[in-house]
Symmetry: C2
Subunit: 109 residues, 2 copies
DNA sequence: GCGATGCCTCAGCCCTCCGTGAGATGTTCA
DNA sequence: TGAACATCTCACGGAGGGCTGAGGCATCGC
């Protein structure tokens, strides 16, 4: 990459717009503090909805709304607890998370 | 990190909320396609406002509004062209960009 | 079975943010 | 000097997204 300013006085009108759709979609998920906190918490292992609600000081249906968006994006999925199936434990899909991370890093690299 | 579900039937109410303020602030800048495209374009070297407007198909005052937010965040700064001072060339502050990237990666890692 | 618990979905209100237009500043050129 | 250009700032109107409450489904303990 060139850190120099271009010599020409004429603006370059042939510059192409980069493709940032994946990075923007990921940023749209991270822009909410609750969703960002959820993704960070799940980096340390599975967490159930009521645990997230308690840790983040939010109501459970609010957490559930945000989890729906993360689920639709494929970043997380839920499994029921073996001995107490009332609890839904969420965990990340690390392959999708890695792709999302790569898209963000590509913009800021 | 543990990928296993916890054995206890009692939810863990002692989980702490992570600090995601820096990542959220960065995501708030990347969530707009124009700002994300600007940051990606500037990775290849300085670009002036009219060049961004032409490449992205947006009006110059719109680009300028977005550049103001990136400037306030310290991610970019402007220098006038030496031989034609009408043109403002923007470039990234790579130290700030690296910090923003690190904050995002920390949430998704 | 019945109540309590954990979680989900949906509609509604509210707030924030983006694009636009107008006006202002600074620079170049004739 | 005046016109054209490049850019900035601000106020306004509209669209999108978050929080809430109500209602519903599934599971566990008594």
């Amino acid at each position: 990459m060139t850190t120099e300013l271009p010599d020409v006085c004429e603006p370059r009108l042939n510059l192409r717009a980069p493709d940032v759709t994946d990075a923007v979609a990921t940023a749209a998920l991270l822009v909410d503090p609750i969703r960002a906190s959820i993704l960070r918490m799940l980096a340390d292992g599975p967490v159930c909805v009521c645990e997230m609600a308690a840790a983040l000081g939010a109501r459970e249906n609010n957490i559930s709304n945000h989890l729906a968006k993360l689920r639709d994006a494929g970043l997380v999925h839920a499994t029921r607890h073996e001995t107490n199936a009332r609890f839904l434990y969420y965990q990340r899909d690390e392959a999708v998370v890695a792709a999302a991370r790569a898209a963000l890093v590509d913009v800021l690299r």
